[in-house]
Subunit: 250 residues, 2 copies
């Protein structure tokens, strides 16, 4: 077993500071800090770098987002705190709507997050008012409530840092779900149409770059990319990467 | 790949609530919430149960604590919030001193934690005043400052939820370090004399039970148990358990 290990720590430290600032400003809740820590541990098992499997999933995700009739990006507190500019940039590029959707919901926090996104360039943010709400069947948490003009009407939903319940329920309503989740064994990862197992801090900028590159592609080319993607096989690949990382220690 | 998975969630949920209460009362800091999340992810890879390797490490730890001339238990905010009664009970049983030692240090928080431990049965808590401080060489964080009558004078130190810097530095001063850390690859886990890779919520009660059982043993029997323990081999075992857990998913 190795005694010393030059594991990269800089990404997680910078990210952590961003999150703690989000917590101080009321965008992030205490449960969000714990959830972030869980992500950090799985990122550790990736060596804090994007695995090849994640690039393949990102490509499939962009193909689905660009082919969608009504794509929506669901934003929670951690996502807003960690990648505010890039998530707005992605929504403009696709283009896709932005909807605030919280597990620990309060109107004040929804509005705080919507304002924060607007200060980072968003022109419209859904989900930050009490009107035009519908419920997704099968979700027990406050996340069941979605904007009728946003997730309610969407065919493709990008859900970074999602809870398992809702990802499963969104799938059951027939929507295409793209998840960003560092735990490949989570219910969200298992339920999504496409799961990008990687740190959101690397994923969103990569989605922006990939969208710029794939925008000129034809519908049929995009369809081919999306339909050749196999989420189950891809999750098995990333699991093998993590296992290989751990085996390097024994 | 399995689609549904009946992973036990109850331990982590209850533990999480205890931690958030500690945060609300100022015992735990925001960085402690993130650190807890990292632990949760590794606990997930243990299936949230104590592996056999952890029992072996616990036995070696108790042998060292019972043989020590001056054993000390270092307590940070998360430890106090998660297992206040059991850590006090353990200190009485061995007997070992209790010293508050924080990474994010402030006299107010030290005193808050000391009071909290006293409300949970502790008669004396070291480290919660500015006098009689000495520095451990080689530690950059505020944790370098320790109580001269506590960790400063100890031969065996139990350090649950430690930072890697300090565990290494304590080892270099010639002290025997017993770590409790869910990440078997962390610098703390690698540097300690004995590493118990398990959730502190299960470890401390198990240390209490094991101490009750091993107290009647002779010095030579305790020495035999301690010296037959190989931390490197034991960490490799727990890594294999985690790898096996992940392989069950591919």
């Amino acid at each position: 077993m190795r005694i010393s290990h030059n594991h990269p720590r800089f990404i997680s430290l910078e990210t952590r500071e961003r999150l703690v600032r989000g917590f101080q400003s009321g965008v992030v809740v205490s449960q969000g800090l714990i959830a972030h820590g869980r992500g950090e541990a799985f990122d550790y098992l990736l060596g804090e770098v994007t695995p090849e499997s994640s690039r393949v999933a990102t490509k499939a995700a962009v193909a689905l987002l660009l082919s969608a009739k009504n794509p929506i990006i669901s934003v929670n507190g951690n996502t807003a705190a960690l990648v505010p500019r890039d998530i707005v940039r992605l929504s403009r590029l696709i283009p896709a709507g932005l909807e605030v959707n919280l597990f620990h919901r309060s109107l004040a926090r929804e509005q705080r997050i919507a304002s924060f996104l607007k200060r980072n360039g968003a022109s419209q943010v859904l989900g930050a008012n009490s009107s035009a709400r519908i419920r997704i069947p099968g979700v027990a948490s406050p996340r069941r409530s979605v904007d009728a003009k946003g997730i309610g009407d969407a065919d493709v939903v990008l859900v970074p840092l999602e809870d398992g319940d809702r990802a499963e329920a969104l799938r059951k309503t027939g929507k295409i779900v793209i998840a960003i989740d560092l735990n490949p064994m989570s219910r969200t990862s298992q339920a999504a149409t496409v799961t990008i197992v990687d740190n959101i801090i690397r994923v969103i900028p990569e989605l922006v770059r990939m969208t710029l590159r794939m925008k000129p592609l034809s519908k049929s080319r995009l369809n081919a990319i999306a339909s050749s993607f196999d989420n189950e096989r891809n999750l098995a690949r990333v699991m093998k990467d993590m296992i290989r990382y751990m085996q390097g220690w024994t």
